[in-house]
């Protein structure tokens, strides 16, 4: 079983190395197949691990394996150690399974790109990083995976490195994540000092009576989780990350990266439970993020950005659940979210792919009638996101809301935020769907999709939104090639049935599976479950109805409140605030330091020293007359003086 876990971990790394080493010796398509099959291999290995693990008794389902102790300092050891337990297996299945579908989808999406081999090497590296993160057997390996995920996301967001916006977005993501990495590393130092070990599970159990220590550690971990999962206040990198190719967005949002924060909280729940204030802070941040992101999503005009904000909002639900101790529910929502978010991104990708990389929903308007299959799968994704029964989101989201009902007044306050969030979700999701997939096709759509039948093959309908990028002329019939549509259809099925594995009051195999690793703090009663479900569905449907009135039937004019619209379009001025709070002072400080310290103190002192040396040289130079006889006289005279001195001293 451990061997299978290692295979699961190392197969994508091997693929990344193989593609890198073979270079141009293989065709682009071969690179794609190597990458895809390695992730599929990972998934198969994860299934094997799962099967083995589930055949064991529940209290013995935790295995670790160390291949190499690479750091020893006194009694402190750190090794390349992986941990296989129900939680990590659960994450392995999601990461490699959904990851496989996304990489396979990339075969169709990236077909014809100049640097396909590099892309697939990065994708494999990304999956490897995330697997390393979830399989880590100690905090150091977890941090290594954490950092590698940041690195891969940086490489993939900036994949189209000719575009300045992509490079800026990549840097932003990297820096935001680095803040979280730093706070996590500080937390680990504290743990080393106190515990002398970073291995799971002993490092997770900080005994009571270390109030400030455990609070600091939990805060550090929360900082890392918030940065990686794009929660307030470190959320601004996520929408910008839409500059990457669409499958990358799907991978970041569904299978890897943003879910890492939720995983971290669930993995370290023992630490967070010792620091209840920090845990409540995590839940509060989640609730805040889900509202803010839902509001911003209402006014976005970029199809991918709307979905990105909805990811932020859904991760907010997971933080809310994890922060309130509903660990299994958070992980359940993580899984269903992976299905329908990947589906939404990939369906959006099909549209973007067919329409020459256009992402503006006003230009994409009315494409649905021409792409019926995509419309249906996108609708499935939207309904799953809103939480309409019996689709996946209904089961998972409602269970989080129900669990927060069960956590006292604080949970109730947050659950109200979550319920408002479901209304917003219904509104912005339906707005997106209604604008893009219903109504009359826009001139842009007509030109690209209908015009093609007349001038078939003349137009390269392939590529992203930069027309200067050279792309092979490649036109496909229908909505997309096999590699595009097949993963989308699989995910559509998963988005429908994925939620059925758990329906809290009736059957809950998932909670049972995770119970040994992360026993929940909140067990809602059946009444709370029912109330939460009914309210959430009703509010979601209310959002849908409102959107329908605004954008479908156009019975109501969309309300325009100038200040609110400006506020939302500027994303609550987070970027501006950071610019004002950090960037400007930093630049000002650098300029002042440059002027006064560098210019005056450092440069001035060096100038002074140089001047002094120069003057001393000129002074001594005057002794150098060039007359040999003077030198000879000087030598003779000094000799005479020395002789006299020696004689006299005697």
């Amino acid at each position: 079983m451990i061997v299978a876990a290692w295979i699961c971990l190392l197969a994508p790394l091997a693929a990344a190395l193989l593609i890198t080493l073979l270079g141009t010796g293989i065709s682009r398509r071969t690179a794609a197949y190597i990458s895809t099959s390695s992730v599929l291999g990972s998934f198969a290995a994860a299934v094997v691990v799962f099967a083995k693990l589930s055949s064991e008794s529940p209290d013995a389902r935790s295995h670790s394996s160390t291949v190499w102790e690479w750091l020893t300092a006194g009694s402190f050891h750190v090794g390349l150690r992986i941990l296989v337990d129900p939680l990590s297996v659960f994450m392995m299945l999601i990461v490699s399974g959904v990851g496989f579908l996304i990489v396979a989808y990339s075969i169709g999406y990236m077909d014809g790109d100049d640097e396909e081999r590099r892309y697939f090497a990065y994708m494999a590296l990304f999956v490897f990083s995330m697997l390393l993160l979830v399989q880590a057997g100690n905090f150091v390996i977890l941090l290594a995976g954490w950092g590698l995920v940041g690195l891969s996301s940086y490489l993939l967001i900036g994949f189209w490195h000719e575009r300045p916006a992509a490079i800026a977005a990549a840097k932003k993501a990297f820096i935001m994540n680095a803040i979280g990495d730093a706070t996590m590393a500080l937390a680990f130092f504290l743990l080393i000092q106190h515990h002398n070990t970073l291995n799971f599970p002993p490092a997770l159990h900080v005994g009571p009576g270390h109030g400030w220590l455990v609070n600091l550690v939990a805060l550090g971990l929360l900082g890392g989780a918030v940065a990686k999962s794009a929660q307030i206040p470190l959320q601004t990198w996520l929408p910008d990350a839409m500059e990457g190719p669409t499958p990358v967005s799907a991978l970041i949002h569904a299978a890897t990266m943003v879910t890492a924060g939720v995983y971290l909280i669930v993995r370290c729940h023992a630490i967070f439970e010792q620091a209840p204030r920090v845990e409540e802070l995590a839940a509060g941040l989640g609730a805040g993020t889900l509202l803010v992101a839902g509001l911003i999503a209402l006014v976005q005009t970029d199809i991918k950005r709307v979905i990105a904000y909805s990811t932020m909002s859904q991760i907010g639900y997971m933080f809310l659940g994890a922060g309130l101790g509903a660990y299994a529910n958070a992980m359940f929502h993580l899984m269903t979210h992976a299905f329908f978010k990947a589906l939404l991104f990939m369906a959006a990708g099909v549209v973007i792919h067919a329409l020459a990389g256009e992402q503006d929903i006003r230009k994409l308007a009315g494409v649905g009638g021409l792409m019926p299959v995509t419309r249906i799968v996108f609708l499935i994704g939207c309904l799953a996101l809103i939480g309409v029964p019996p689709l996946a989101g209904f089961f998972s989201k409602d269970s989080i809301i129900a669990a927060s009902f069960a956590r006292g007044w604080y949970g109730t306050v947050l659950s109200i935020a979550a319920l408002i969030g479901t209304f917003l979700t219904g509104l912005y999701t339906s707005r997106l769907f209604l604008i893009v997939f219903t109504g009359e096709p826009s001139p842009f759509v007509r030109e690209h999709l209908l015009g093609r039948s007349h001038a078939h093959g003349q137009e390269g309908a392939h590529g992203e939104d930069d027309p200067s990028r050279p792309h092979s002329v490649h036109v496909h019939r229908g909505e997309g090639p096999f590699w595009l549509m097949a993963p989308v259809l699989v995910l559509a099925v998963l988005s429908v049935v994925g939620g059925w594995i758990q329906f809290a009051p009736l059957w809950h195999p998932l909670s049972t599976w995770l119970d040994e690793v992360a026993p929940p703090l909140a067990t809602p009663s059946s009444a709370q479950e029912a109330v939460a479900s009914v309210l959430a569905v009703l509010l979601g449907l209310a959002g849908v109805a409102l959107a329908f009135a605004f954008y479908g039937r156009r019975r109501l004019a969309v309300p325009r409140i100038a200040w609110a619209q400006t506020l939302l379009e500027h994303k609550f001025y987070f970027d501006e605030a950071y610019d004002f709070a950090f960037y400007r002072p930093a630049v000002w400080l650098s300029l002042q330091l440059g002027r006064w310290v560098e210019g005056l103190i450092i440069g001035g002192s060096i100038r002074e020293i140089a001047q002094g040396v120069r003057e001393a040289g000129l002074g001594t130079g005057r002794l150098q007359t060039g007359l040999v006889r003077t030198y000879a006289l000087a030598i003779a005279a000094s000799l005479a003086v020395i002789t006299v001195v020696f004689v006299a001293v005697r």
């Binding site: 130079g621 150098q624 007359t625 007359l627 040999v628």
Partner: protein, 102 residues
């Protein structure tokens, strides 16, 4: 030990050295300065050999031989410089050859 006392040898050596030193200090012709240097070296050699004979040791003579070898190479270099300067039609006057003024 036959012959004059050591003092006499040293007196001759000192007068040779003083002659040379004065030549180096006072004369302006390059050639003469070089010659005077040789005289100084030979004064030193004489003192070395005198002491060597006084103590019955041969190391002083070996030193003198080494000094001669050094003097010979020094003369080669010095004469070479003088020839080069003469070829450039410059005055062979040490006071005028003051290019290394600081």
């Amino acid at each position: 030990m036959k012959g004059p006392e050591i003092v006499w040898y040293l007196a001759v050596a000192a007068s040779l050295f003083a002659t040379g030193a004065l030549g180096v200090l006072l004369r302006r012709s390059l050639l003469i300065v070089l010659l005077s240097l040789e005289i100084m070296l030979n004064g030193a050699n004489l003192a070395l050999i005198a002491f060597s004979r006084l103590h019955g040791e041969s190391s002083g003579q070996i030193f003198a031989l080494a000094v001669m070898a050094v003097a010979a190479s020094e003369v080669v270099v010095g004469l070479g410089l003088i020839v080069a300067i003469a070829r450039k039609r410059l005055d062979l006057d040490v006071d005028k050859l003051s290019f290394l003024r600081g």
